[in-house]
């Protein structure tokens, strides 16, 4: 039926005067489980099926979406998209030119071992409750939380250039959090990452491999120990970022500023613009020589939340070099924006949250490629630094220049050894100055492809998952501690 619905939409759009049309049918199934303090919290499943139709008519864009999947419903939706496009034409400027793209007829599915929707709910809840119980055994832990989320997206893309692409994506995520209130402060530790844990394009095997129960006690103990830890000092220091925190640093200070729609002002009202103006492409010294960053949506990069076969504009997954040996070399683009910077093809980064939303430029897997350092050697080579791990808060200005991050936990590195625990660690800086202070990146064996499931962008707001590969890295002369300075 998906094919029929798409065909009805494309045909109606053509008859109504669209010069280009594409349709996305998406069938999204999601399961959410959580526990708190030893009890089941959320226990929910949802399904959502519908179609989104995007057209160019009268030289302007229109989009409409519906879940009324009768022939009449789909045709009315396509007609609405054309009517909206004609209204858009009231203020259009210039000619709308799309970068050429070949016709693709294909299917794609990410590999996974265990379908999480076929794993008995009791087994999933037992695992979460066991991890919850382990954390609660630690004296001083005042709140324990665990969660799992699974999502299966089956989608069909069809366009007026003849492409028909079917894809199935299976996504899994899980995490645990221990919180401790004491001595008039709240401290918490998360595993394997904060804000929901780790998410990948994978099956239930990802959950099993993370060993939530085996890490639960340590998480609880660290949350309690943080109360008596040394406060983060203020001043300029060397810092080492663990790969989980570095993943978010990449997301905020590289991933967002390279979105070409932001650069061109299309997101100015909400998400903002970017300091990376087009004149800097190929010229800006973004980072030190050792820094290489790619936006790679291909499966060979790993099962990240930004991995797919084709984007939501029918363009195959690609690897775009973003920073090569420290120099800025590429943006995230789509068929509309690629020609603006002289590209003859889209970078394939158009993604949509659901059938009801217009695809927009999104990060794929924006990853820092591994360096050469073994982690132990990096620590041994560092005389005086703070190691920061697991994000607690993040904020960056609307051009993506000035940022401030704080992490759940830090460690003092002194004389080549990890020594005291540091609480309330934070650091801040200007994006290009920060990346130009990087002097060591750990090797592939320490590299993790993190999933950020909650990236918000667009109006109406869309939440998208993005991937960020990172290994621990060292940065010199970074301002620390200003978040807690009084």
């Amino acid at each position: 039926m998906m094919r029929d619905w798409a065909n009805w939409a494309l045909e109606t759009a053509r008859v109504r005067g669209a010069t280009y049309a594409d349709a996305r049918v998406m069938d999204i199934r999601q399961r959410d489980l959580s526990t708190k303090n030893g009890r089941v919290g959320t226990l929910a499943e949802s399904e959502s099926l519908g179609i989104g139709v995007r057209v160019i008519a009268a030289g302007a864009w229109g989009f409409a979406a519906t879940d009324q999947l009768t022939r009449e419903g789909v045709q009315a939706c396509a007609a609405r998209a054309v009517s909206i496009a004609k209204a858009s034409a009231l203020t259009k400027r210039g000619k709308l030119v799309l970068a050429p793209e070949q016709t693709h007829v294909d299917t794609w599915q990410n590999p996974f071992v265990k379908d999480p929707f076929r794993i008995p709910l009791e087994r999933q809840l037992d695992l979460l409750l066991a991890a919850d119980k382990e954390m609660s055994r630690v004296t001083g832990v005042t709140l324990t939380e665990t969660s799992m989320q699974f999502r299966r997206i089956e989608q069909l893309f069809a366009s007026s250039i003849g492409s028909v692409i079917q894809q199935v994506k299976m996504q899994s995520g899980c995490g645990i959090v221990a919180t401790s209130f004491g001595e008039h402060e709240i401290q918490k530790r998360s595993y394997p990452n904060s804000f929901g844990g780790q998410y990948m394009l994978a099956g239930y095997e990802m959950v099993e491999a993370l060993d939530l129960v085996g890490n639960a006690r340590r998480v609880g103990e660290q949350a309690v120990a943080l109360h008596k830890a040394t406060p983060c000092p203020e001043g300029a220091r060397t810092i080492i970022l663990a790969s989980d925190q570095l993943g978010l640093q990449i997301h905020e200070s590289i991933g967002h500023p390279i979105e070409l729609d932001r650069v061109l002002g299309q997101e100015a009202n909400l998400a903002g613009t970017s300091f990376l103006t087009i004149d800097q492409l190929g010229k800006l010294r973004y980072a030190t020589d050792m820094v290489n960053v790619v936006a790679d949506a291909r499966l060979e990069h790993g099962p990240g939340l930004g991995t797919f076969g084709y984007d939501d504009e029918g363009v195959p997954a690609q690897c775009i070099p973003i920073i090569q040996n420290g120099r800025f070399t590429g943006y995230l683009s789509n068929r509309e924006t690629a020609p603006v910077i002289g590209l003859d093809r889209s970078g394939g980064t158009m993604r949509t949250e659901s059938w009801s939303r217009l695809p927009i430029i999104r990060m794929t897997n924006v990853s820092l490629l591994p360096g050469t350092w073994r982690y132990d050697d990096l620590i041994a080579d560092t005389d005086d630094a703070i190691l920061m791990e697991t994000n607690r808060s993040w904020s960056i200005d609307d051009k993506r220049y000035q940022f401030q991050f704080s992490t759940e936990i830090g460690w003092e590195i002194r004389g080549g050894r990890r020594t005291r625990m540091i609480k309330n660690p934070s650091y801040s800086g200007i994006t290009t100055e920060f990346w130009n202070s990087c002097d060591a990146i750990c090797s592939r064996e320490h590299w993790t492809l993190w999933g950020t499931p909650n990236c918000g962008k667009g109006q109406p707001m869309q939440v998208m998952g993005t991937g960020h590969g990172a290994a621990p890295a060292r940065f010199r002369n970074i301002k620390v501690g200003s978040a807690f300075a009084r």
């Binding site: 949802s46 959502s48 519906t66 709910l121 209130f181 200007i430």
Partner: protein, 470 residues
């Protein structure tokens, strides 16, 4: 602040229209929602069954670089079912309304419910309730077309061009209808419309912003908002950099909303019980200034939202902070039972681990105008809007974020020009202890918090820690 050239004022006339692009044409009626709920109750074998149905017909016209670049519409339905079997409960949701799909969503809910341990103290569903009438559905909003929105955008773009500015923003109109019903006879319904306009005006090295939303499109004035944003963009041209530090600030309502809005969950009784609220061990103590009075009041004329909570309890007006002292929390039915309190009608849809939250905050205002605040300030900063606000310290409620789109230096009682944007690290409780003047409370519209009724504020000792490059 320099004055921008204002647009020619010609208000569109609103009348009910028909056609495929009109929101109201696609909304299921309350009678249709009722019939869906009745089919579910008929199919259900659960001890108790609850149905939440939401229908949406929403449209958004988005513009940037003085042209419409995205223009979208959505029609959708959501049917969410909660079943209870012998003290177990869970939720399943679908967007299909045929019999087979409704049976399947019931079965999914039942399977989820039965997979877990019994929930001690799970309360029976509520029976029929009475709710105050609220009128928040307006035909003018429901009848808006893409052409109406595009014509208004064109006028706003003309205003931008007259001021040599670049406009970006949104103009959205939508109609929404909901029903919450259960097998014990509860049936609550709510319908509303929403119109929102947000605009950023950008110059070479400056920007200005304004935003508002109203259930009734007739009360929304995009051209006035555009003029205001243009004046800010013109007034902040060639911004100067000033040293970070502690300053007196005048926060416009959007800035107050986005900062103070982060307090909302701290007033959840569950958050206090979980020891993750900043009010833990602070209830009854003067932690804010004596001029701070905070309510949760869904019935306030400037508030929106249904008059019932996620379980169908009527929402009550609650005095959260009285003259600087946190006095009351909000309670779901289950939390109230556990804490031997009365439920206040702020429960979230079950099952959940968060309990309840006040979502209709009203911060009482004063009588000082923004101009009077500026005139009374020897040296300070006027803030239009804050951005990317995140919690740094949950117990001291220290938030970080940036100023954006209209940050001015005030000297000797006058706005003297724009300054480069700055990062703040500021405790919200400390901020609310340092409020010197309050403006009249208005319905605020920001980007980081849900809408509340808030005043502008003049605050001493606001903590800016760093400055950015623009």
């Amino acid at each position: 602040m320099s004055a921008a050239r204002t647009a020619r004022r010609s208000r569109p006339r609103h009348r009910m229209k028909r056609g495929p692009a009109v929101a109201a044409e696609h909304l299921l009626s309350l009678a249709e929602l009722r019939r869906i709920a009745e089919r579910i109750f008929r199919f259900s074998e659960a001890d108790e069954t609850e149905v939440q149905i939401d229908v949406v017909s929403d449209a958004l016209t988005r513009f940037a670089n003085n042209a419409i670049h995205q223009n979208v519409a959505e029609q959708s339905v959501s049917v969410s079912v909660r079943t209870v079997f012998d003290g177990q409960t869970a939720r399943a949701t679908t967007n299909k309304t045929d019999d087979e799909s409704l049976r399947r969503v019931l079965a999914a809910s039942a399977t989820l419910a039965r997979s877990q341990p019994r929930i001690p103290g799970l309360l029976p569903m509520l029976g029929a309730q009475k709710y105050p009438k609220v009128r928040r559905f307006f035909d003018a909003t429901a009848a808006a077309t893409p052409q109406d929105r595009a014509r208004m955008v064109k006028r706003v773009v003309s205003l931008a061009e007259e001021n040599k500015l670049n406009a970006a923003g949104i103009y959205t109109t939508g109609a929404f209808r909901s029903m919450l019903a259960n097998s014990r006879g509860l049936c609550a319904d709510y319908e509303y419309t929403r119109a929102e306009f947000s605009v950023t005006m950008m110059g070479e090295d400056s920007s200005g912003w304004a935003k508002a939303n109203e259930p009734d499109l007739v009360k929304l004035d995009p051209e006035e908002l555009a003029s205001r944003a243009a004046a800010k963009a013109v007034g902040t041209r060639h911004p100067r950099e000033i040293e970070p530090g502690r300053y007196t600030v005048i926060l416009e309502p959007a800035a107050v909303l986005d900062l103070v809005g982060f307090l909302f969950y701290d007033f959840s009784a569950t958050a206090v019980a979980d020891k993750r609220s900043c009010l833990n061990e602070r209830m009854g103590k003067p932690v804010m200034g004596p001029n701070i009075i905070l309510w949760d009041d869904v019935g306030h004329p400037l508030q929106l939202g249904p008059p019932y909570d996620g379980e169908g309890m009527p929402r009550q007006k609650v005095l959260l902070v009285d003259r600087g002292v946190p006095r009351n929390l909000v309670y779901s039915r289950a939390t109230a039972r556990k804490m031997k309190k009365k439920p206040t009608g702020h429960g979230l849809s079950l099952p959940n681990e968060y309990g309840e939250a006040p979502v209709n905050l009203v911060l009482e205002g004063g009588t000082t105008s923004l101009q009077e605040m500026i005139a009374s300030t020897d040296r300070g900063i006027l803030v239009t809007r804050l951005w990317y606000i995140r919690e740094v310290d949950p117990y001291e409620k220290v938030m970080t974020g940036m100023t954006r789109d209209g940050t001015f230096l005030v000297k000797h009682g006058r706005v003297t020009g724009g300054i480069k944007n700055m990062r703040f690290n500021q405790g919200v409780l400390e901020l609310l202890s340092n409020v010197e003047l309050l403006g009249p409370a208005v319905r605020g519209a920001g980007e980081e918090a849900t809408e509340m009724v808030v005043p502008a504020m003049k605050v001493r000792n606001f903590h800016f820690t760093e400055v950015t490059k623009f």
